[in-house]
């Protein structure tokens, strides 16, 4: 075994998205599979490639070249899920490894030094164990840095110790795509500068690269010249720790539930402790006798059975109260954010809320509660409790930051308020994807895990720029032209100049200035997600600025500049 400390073994499954799609859709091995993302093939398995399908083909080209190919849409979640399930075999063989991306994992070779005679022996043992267990094909690659090892794995080769810089310098510059989507633009620039191989780029002086391309360019330069960045974080054993309790008789009372939860919580924490780990987030699932279930994830700084019992009691009370009164939506004033968090809590329901749910008055009711019939629910109550350790870390990883001031007191105060006014009364801000402030708002109850419904990384063309309204609301208003008729909006603009705005209270204000209207058209390919909306900013004679939007033929007041 080599004495080089930094040797890294990378195992990669070629065409992982295609393999994952085959597992997901239960497709027989050998049948051609192509995975599409944004209309283009991003991965194809060996038999599909043999038929002439390459990355970048569109769907029609796939059908033309290989009619029997199975075409699947890219599913990032399935990619991750199948891979982390598949590499379970590795947990028993090696002490430390890291999942780099779905389909690729890294193992520091020094962790294998004591178990195997040399690198080749180690690789053979690990690969055959993985292949026996999963049936997937793994390509190994060994080099001195992670980046080089990933490239080596693509070619299934071993780079001799000390040869990594030479190996890297011969690779084409496009391999820097490994660093992420931001690298694409820089690669273009490098090509225009005549830097075709990593070696050309690595020969530039580091300080020049830093001056011209900033920190990210510097990072790419480090990759290209074989300097290792931050050490990899170890994979934490992905075992699911959970405890379950079925009640003999269903109950709606929260005190016995809290009492049971305390015992159950103690069981779970004991189980976690036996693994030498610490639990920082817990998922509480409640099942009702009628078959509904409620699931929420809580982050608890000081995890104890009493804290778990409190959370479970709050969750049960909130759920039962929400079901029996159906009041959740009738008082939006008291519950801002609750409708944005429907994904994280309340009741589980299949599918996702429609994108336009926020702006659509009919959809508002659907988003929150597929409420069961109040009466039978109250009669039956909760029949089963389940606690799942949602985030496990090593004890050192759970300690608080030294530099934050009085977080302990803050936590205590906010927990007290949650106890008095319910968990949804204390909300912390977050941002998610969306066009309007009402959609980008992600208010999450204190110490619950935020569940964004829309990706902030996705592009949101037509999103509102600063200055943005300070409060959001959603009430129907009338926008009238000078002749008293309602102002119509077309994608090309407004039909008439808005002159007056009438609020739901009947009060009217004169519009003194108004912006251009700008439309959003999105999701037209899918009727359930289609959004047609026109936005307009107006200033009234009271000096007030408002954000309005028109959807389904109705104007809404969606934000106030307060």
């Amino acid at each position: 075994m080599s004495d080089e400390p930094g040797r890294i073994l990378v195992l990669t499954v070629p065409d992982w998205p295609a393999v994952a799609a085959a597992v997901e859709h239960d497709i027989a091995p050998g049948r051609p599979v192509a995975v599409l993302h944004a209309g283009k093939v991003i991965a194809a398995n060996a038999s599909a490639r043999a038929a002439g399908i390459t990355a970048g083909n569109n769907k029609r080209a796939v059908g033309y070249r290989c009619p029997e190919a199975h075409v699947a849409l890219w599913d990032e979640e399935a990619d991750n899920r199948h891979f982390s399930a598949g590499v379970g075999a590795l947990e028993d063989l090696v002490a430390r490894f890291t999942l780099l991306s779905p389909g690729t994992l890294a193992i520091p070779l020094d962790s294998l030094r004591h178990g195997y005679a040399d690198e080749a022996d180690a690789v053979e043992t690990l690969v055959s164990a993985l292949v026996d267990d999963t049936g997937w094909e793994f390509f190994p690659g060994i080099a001195d840095t992670v980046f080089a090892a990933v490239l080596a794995a693509g070619q299934a080769r071993r780079v001799e110790p000390g040869q990594t810089v030479d190996f890297l310098s011969a690779q084409p510059i496009t391999t820097l795509e490994y660093a992420g989507a931001e690298a694409t633009a820089l690669i273009e620039v490098f090509l225009q500068l005549g830097l075709r191989a990593l070696g050309d780029f690595a020969r530039l002086a580091a300080k020049d690269v830093n001056a011209r391309f900033g920190a990210f360019g510097r990072h790419l330069h480090d990759l290209a010249s074989g300097r290792e960045g931050a050490p990899l974080t170890d994979h934490v054993r992905g075992e699911q720790l959970d405890v379950e309790l079925d009640l003999d008789t269903p109950t709606t009372r929260s005190d016995p539930l809290g009492f049971l939860a305390r015992q159950l919580g103690a069981d779970l924490l004991a189980k976690v402790r036996r693994q030498g780990l610490v639990c920082t987030q817990i998922t509480i699932e409640l099942d009702a006798a009628a078959g509904q279930s409620s699931s929420r994830t809580w982050r608890i700084e000081d995890m104890q059975e009493n804290a778990i019992a409190d959370r479970l009691r709050w969750q049960a009370e909130g759920w039962l109260a929400g079901v029996s009164t159906g009041a959740e939506n009738s008082e939006p004033r008291q519950n801002p954010g609750s409708r944005h968090n429907s994904g994280s809590g309340r009741s589980t329901r299949p599918g996702h809320a429609p994108l336009s749910a926020q702006a659509d008055p009919q959809a508002l009711d659907i988003v929150d509660e597929p409420a069961p019939d109040a009466e039978d629910f109250a009669e039956d109550g909760i029949i089963a409790l389940r606690l799942i350790a949602a985030e496990l870390t090593t004890p050192i990883g759970a300690t608080r930051s030294l530099f934050d001031e009085n977080t302990g007191q803050i936590t205590h105060t906010l927990e007290r308020l949650q106890g008095l006014f319910g968990p949804d009364a204390v909300l912390v801000p977050g941002l998610q994807g969306g066009w309007d402030p009402a959609e980008t708002n992600l208010w999450t109850p204190w110490q619950q895990a935020a569940v964004p419904e829309r990706s902030p990384a996705a592009p949101w063309p037509g999103a509102l720029h600063a200055p943005r309204p300070t409060t959001v609301e959603h009430s129907a208003v009338d926008v009238l032209a000078a002749d008293g008729s309602s102002v119509e909006a077309r994608p090309s603009g407004l039909e008439a100049a808005p002159a007056t705005i009438r609020f739901p209270t009947g009060q009217t204000e004169t519009i003194t200035d108004y912006s251009g209207s700008w439309p959003i058209e999105s999701g037209w390919w899918d009727p359930s997600r289609a959004v047609y909306r026109t936005r307009l900013q107006v200033v009234t004679d009271a000096g007030r600025a408002l954000l309005l939007s028109k959807e389904h033929g109705q104007w809404y007041l969606t934000g106030r500049y307060r």
Partner: protein, 270 residues
């Protein structure tokens, strides 16, 4: 004791020595830092600690959030009470550190109770009170604020405040009658230190000072239509800052007056 005779003395003390309450004589705490554009609004150049500050008028919420922004970036915790549903993107635009901001979605009737719990550990509370507290409640609130050395910003006039910032005039620009979109708002704010003009929000969302040479239409009365040069940023010829009337500006909110009246009746009966 005649309150009116004490007011000028307090005024003079705070202007000269930065001492606004008796407690400040014994232990002078530096104020929380605020954005440089907003700091001339405050007598001591920052958000005073241990005191009640009111920010009223149109755009008061933006002004309040912009005031707390610099402190949250220095790890100070800020809570909002009774703000309806603020938009997170604008909070971030105004420079508030989202990791140190919490919004309380509690009923307006409970604001005093919530505030009294939060005072224990929070550095700044931004509140739109649901009702006017009675005199004894107010005294206890002020005593607690002073004791904890925290800052309470009310978005409605409350007596007992040491600094009052009132936004008297707002002028949005950029909409251009259908040809543009809102860019910035020129606000005129009156405080204990005089009248100030700045852009809130400015083109990037944060408060910005008025670019030199901006012309402004002087509002109201016979001088309407004449132009004034914007260089006189703080014309100190302001009327002596008296304590604003308790219900001023609140008359338009039926909820506020109903709850306040109801509580008075209950306290008489009890």
């Amino acid at each position: 004791m005649d309150v009116m005779s004490a007011a000028p003395v307090i005024e003079q003390l705070s202007r000269e020595a930065g001492i606004s309450t008796a407690a400040a004589l014994f232990d002078k705490t530096p104020p929380h830092p605020v954005d440089p554009v907003l700091s001339p609004l405050f007598r001591r150049g920052g958000l005073p600690r241990g005191e009640l500050v009111t920010v009223t008028g149109e755009l008061s919420l933006s002004c309040g959030l912009a005031t707390v922004a610099a402190a949250t970036r220095e790890q100070k915790w800020c809570a909002g009470i009774g703000l309806d549903e603020p938009s997170v993107s604008s909070i971030a635009d105004l420079g508030v550190d989202l990791d140190h901001f919490v919004n309380l979605a509690t009923p307006g009737e409970d604001w005093l109770r919530v505030a009294s719990i939060l005072i224990e550990s929070f550095d700044i509370i931004l509140v739109d009170p649901g009702f006017a507290p009675s005199a004894s409640e107010r005294a206890r609130l002020l005593a607690k604020i002073r004791e904890r050395r925290m800052s309470l910003i009310s978005l409605r006039p409350l007596s007992g405040s040491t600094e009052q910032i009132e936004i008297t005039d707002t002028r949005w620009s950029g909409a251009e009658h259908g040809r543009g979109r809102l860019q910035s708002c020129l606000v005129r704010a009156r405080s204990q230190t005089g009248t100030h003009r700045f852009l809130l929000p400015g083109p990037s969302g944060t408060p910005t000072s008025v670019p030199a040479g901006t012309l402004e239409v002087v509002a109201g009365g016979d001088s309407a239509g004449t132009f004034a040069e914007a260089s006189d940023i703080s014309d100190t010829a302001v009327e002596a800052a008296g304590v604003p009337a308790e219900d001023a500006g609140a008359a338009d909110d039926p909820r506020w007056s109903t709850i306040t009246a109801l509580r008075q009746v209950i306290s008489h009966v009890g």
